[in-house]
């Protein structure tokens, strides 16, 4: 067969093709409709939220007369006006929608205002007179720890005898490090629009990663049931975990007000309000003690994690579990004790953020490895390799899952070679020897990240595929689109399964009335779960069509073959649309649901053991920086990344996830700093003071590749691997390159994350605290 003929037979936009994001043509035209862009229904009211100015207080008096009298105001609502359950907490019901007399963080919602315009609602919300009786506020995790203030019980995972191993080890180190939190800074802030339907039903447009949860929480808040509420989300302008549980608060307020007024209501948070009111990545205080040998190999290690969870549990249980599961990163820990405290503080309740606690766990072990290397005067990469998980030995994680897909050595060897690590380290040594002020540094760090929700029951998904009589296809599944390209990838799967070009498939908004009970699009599992569910639905239809064609044309099923946009039946060619029309005419069902649950996973949370993860995603990065030791400023000079996406469903989209994840991680570790006043007010609540990376911060030399031999050992969707979260942690290489520059071959710099210029300067001048 000629090559051209083969190409002609291959569908357009199938699996593995680097097709553009399904909405890209709308994005560049400014026509993609986000929740705030939906044409507003007649009579729409705009909402604003009145927030607590105190971190911990009883509300003595809430005088809303001035709010009510403000121009354009239609209605004002407090906790007492909620007909159903006053809760938007996803797991534990400890998150009031509107504070019922007790405020537990500065920024907490106290009341909501509905007005004719957005401006009127926001102005009115500032006019409340609130009298507080202030209570003692716990503002940091260590104070919480000392006071025994927790949102959930502390957990311990112990394997082997860490105490004995540390005591018996030739060398020992102990210390404390800190890692900062992070605001999601999705470019589209939190927003929801609730539209009343007949009989008191509600239709809610919500910018959410978890429409099904918004549906349930809204239904409970308005005193109705799930069947009375539909939640839709076509796309979000970024999510990153910040729209996993947080949108429920916004949607519940919009829904409650819509129910009261009988009018459509929209709540869109202004950026400052969004940053004050909604949760972020947890910051941690981490204590460690480690025993190791003269080569740097770890013999025993103990970690104490104290996480700032904020005022409620939110998703902190699973997040901190994941911290415990990832404080091994790529390293075998033979004797280990991990203690995890979920500290309750009078600050905003922290939440999911890309990596979901994993990054902080990895930060901890990478910090310890770096400290070991600098104590021994060895190259940190040597110490990393010394501790890597093995294959066939040293391959069991602290939670007793055996590593079956370890490609750490392969990735790190290849990357160290292509990035020319050894030669550059020597060159940097020479440069630094003759450069007293500007210092360069380099680091290679690996990533091993477990894929699956650690809560086993969440690893399920559904999809709906409708084929219309003109041969076009309507695709729906429980996943949500936040820019990550999930909708495109799943559509590619369906195109592949039905052997039709991608442009025949319409990708449609996540909708709780089409696919119910979907898990959040989170844990990097969107493509794995929804791709498989959509595949199952498409296969049902394909099977029916084959059976029908065999019967109709009087041939064996094996003689029916799908080609691009057509069926070949014993040499006869039937165009796809003709086949579909024929099938419909002969009464073949052309709609199917698909369902998938991840196999092979099981996990006992009581003992922290089992197989929580279906597989692992791996990657590694080399970063080189230059640091000005007189100012603390630093620049990223070059980055080399090698990441395992398995057999990628869409290399263009996956590459975007790797690059974007890395840069977001670099922001977390070097420029983004959350600051609170001594009264517990967040002082960095806008891009003027909270600095995410910009294009000018980017390394001028940025080389990103996917592992060519990548192929998932497990039977995932077309053997691809999840790619949403793992690349974020590649940015640990930037942090450690800065430490390397500061250390300059001598000593352990007192530098913790985020390594802002201020922190770097303090560390460079010996002012950093350990």
């Amino acid at each position: 067969m000629a090559a051209a003929d083969t190409d002609r037979r291959r569908i357009r936009g199938g699996v593995g093709e680097a097709v553009p994001h399904d909405s890209a043509h709308l994005h560049v035209a400014g026509e993609a409709t986000y929740t705030d862009d939906i044409i507003e229904p007649r009579g729409l009211l705009h909402l604003a939220v009145g927030m607590s100015s105190k971190a911990h207080a009883r509300v003595r008096r809430l005088d809303l007369d001035a709010v009510r009298a403000s121009p354009g105001v239609v209605d004002v609502m407090t906790a007492a006006d909620i007909p159903g359950e006053n809760n938007c907490g996803p797991v534990v019901h400890d998150d009031p929608i509107l504070a019922p007399g007790l405020v537990e963080y500065a920024g907490q919602a106290l009341f909501a205002v509905a007005a004719r315009t957005y401006e009127q609602a926001r102005r009115a919300a500032r006019l409340a007179v609130v009298e507080y009786e202030e209570l003692e506020a716990v503002l940091d995790p260590l104070t919480a720890l000392a006071k025994g203030s927790f949102v959930l019980p502390s957990e311990t995972l112990a394997r082997g005898d860490s105490r004995a191993a540390i005591d018996a080890a030739p060398r020992r180190l102990a210390g404390r490090t800190r890692v900062g939190g992070q605001d999601h800074f999705y470019l589209e802030g939190q927003v929801a629009m609730a539209v009343p339907r007949e009989g008191g039903d509600l239709y809610v447009h919500s910018s959410t990663q978890h429409p099904g949860e918004v549906q349930l929480l809204v239904a409970r808040a308005i005193g109705r049931e799930a069947k009375d509420v539909v939640v839709e989300c076509r796309r979000m302008g970024g999510g990153f975990g910040g729209k996993e549980s947080q949108p429920a608060l916004i949607a519940c307020i919009a829904a409650l007000m819509a129910q009261r007024s009988g009018l459509p209501c929209k709540l869109r948070l202004d950026r400052d309000d969004d940053m004050l009111m909604t949760g972020k990545r947890h910051d941690f205080v981490i204590d460690y003690e480690v025993g190791f040998d003269d080569t740097g190999r770890i013999e025993g290690i103990e970690f104490m994690f104290a996480a700032r969870c904020g005022m409620s549990a939110d998703l902190s249980g699973a997040i901190n579990d994941r911290t415990m599961f990832h404080c091994d990163n790529a390293y075998y820990l033979p004797n280990v004790t991990i203690v995890s405290h979920r500290c309750k503080t009078n600050t905003v309740s922290n939440t999911a953020f890309r990596g979901f606690g994993g990054p902080q766990g990895m930060y901890a072990i990478e910090y310890v490895i770096d400290e070991i290397a600098r104590t021994l005067g060895r190259d940190p990469l040597d110490v990393r390799r010394r501790n890597f998980y093995g294959t066939g030995e040293r391959d069991v994680t602290p939670y007793l899952q055996k590593l079956e897909d370890n490609v750490l050595d392969e990735i790190v060897d290849e990357l160290a070679t292509t990035a020319d690590y050894a030669a550059r380290r020597e060159e940097i040594r020479l440069y630094n020897a003759s450069s007293p002020v500007l210092k360069r540094g380099i680091a290679l760090t690996p990533v091993k990240f477990g894929i699956s929700f650690t809560a086993t029951h969440l690893n399920q998904a559904g999809a709906l595929v409708n084929v219309y009589t003109d041969g076009t296809v309507h695709l729906n599944h429980g996943g949500t689109e936040m820019g990550q390209g999930l909708f495109t990838k799943v559509a590619q799967v369906v195109a592949e399964e039905l052997s039709i070009d991608l442009d025949r498939i319409k990708i449609t908004a996540s909708d709780t009335s089409k696919v119910p009970n979907a898990s959040a699009t989170a844990a990097s599992a969107g493509s794995d779960l929804n791709g498989k569910a959509a595949q199952a639905a498409a296969r049902k239809i394909r099977k029916r069509l084959v059976r029908f064609a065999a019967r109709h044309f009087g041939v064996a099923r094996d003689d029916v073959r799908f080609e691009r946009n057509r069926l070949r039946v014993n040499g006869q060619l039937i165009p796809w649309e003709e086949l579909v029309r024929l099938a419909w005419f002969n009464r073949v069902a052309l709609s199917a649901t698909g369902y998938y649950r991840t196999p092979r996973i099981n996990y006992d949370r009581k003992t922290f053991s089992g197989r929580p993860f279906f597989y692992f995603a791996y990657g590694a990065a080399v970063s080189e920086v230059i640091v000005d030791t007189l100012t603390g400023e630093h620049r990223l000079l070059r980055v080399d990344i090698l990441h395992d996406c398995g057999a990628s469903l869409n290399p263009a989209i996956d590459l975007g996830q790797v690059e974007g994840g890395f840069v977001q991680g670099a922001g977390w570790l070097t420029s983004e700093e959350l600051c609170w006043s001594e009264r517990g007010e967040l002082t960095t609540h806008a891009p003027s003071t909270y600095k995410i990376p910009t294009s000018s911060d980017l390394a001028p030399d940025f080389r990103v590749r996917m592992l060519e031999s990548g192929r998932n050992r497990e039977k995932t969707i077309y053997r691809s691997k999840a790619v949403g979260e793992p690349p974020l942690m590649l940015a640990l290489s930037v942090f450690h390159a800065i430490r390397d520059a500061l250390s300059d071959g001598r000593g352990r710099p007192a530098l913790h994350a985020p390594a802002t210029p201020e922190a770097v300067l303090l560390a460079a001048t010996g002012g950093g605290h350990d």
């Binding site: 999705y186 302008g237 975007g656 690059e659």
Partner: protein, 169 residues
């Protein structure tokens, strides 16, 4: 409150609207004119998601009052394509996968257009600094920078071809 009547030009079309004195150009574009390409990312001129051109100058439309645009010319992302023919910047953003969630994309396109009108042959580093007022949380910027670089080349070639045709008569 009395509205202010304003006559202006948006993407080449004469437009009239009545706005409140406190409404921003962004409010006017989104709420009165139905042009929702420009987004409010921060409302304080720090993120660039609301970028438009005002008399050819790049501005954050959240920092311009609607009443200020009387008699002026506004260009938004919606006016970039020529009918169905995409602007080279739009084409290159598609080709380079220089977008993910897409909220920052309109602002980047407008800011890049302003850059290329000022400097038809920018270096990569000039592009990085020129676009540093536009925040993107998804892509990591590299693809955006490359897309703008490629589009600059397209525009220079287009210009050359136009000149040649003119010279040929």
């Amino acid at each position: 409150m009395k509205g202010i009547a304003v006559s202006t030009t948006v993407n080449g079309d004469a437009v009239e609207f009545v706005c409140d004195a406190r409404e921003t150009l962004l409010d006017v574009l989104r709420n009165h004119l139905g042009l929702t390409g420009a987004k409010e990312g921060c409302g304080t001129g720090d993120c660039g998601a609301c970028s438009v051109l005002l008399d050819g100058q790049l501005v954050c439309s959240c920092l311009v009052l609607g009443a200020e645009v009387e008699g002026r010319e506004i260009e938004t992302v919606e006016g970039m394509a020529d009918g169905d023919r995409l602007h080279p910047l739009q084409k290159r953003f598609l080709e380079h996968a220089a977008l993910q969630c897409g909220v920052c994309t309109p602002g980047f396109l407008v800011a890049a257009k302003a850059l290329l009108e000022r400097n038809s042959n920018p270096s990569e580093s000039e592009i990085r600094y020129a676009l540093a007022g536009n925040l993107c949380r998804c892509t990591g910027y590299d693809k955006i920078v490359h897309a703008v670089h490629a589009a600059a080349g397209d525009l220079r070639r287009q210009q050359k071809a136009r000149k040649k045709r003119k010279a040929a008569g």
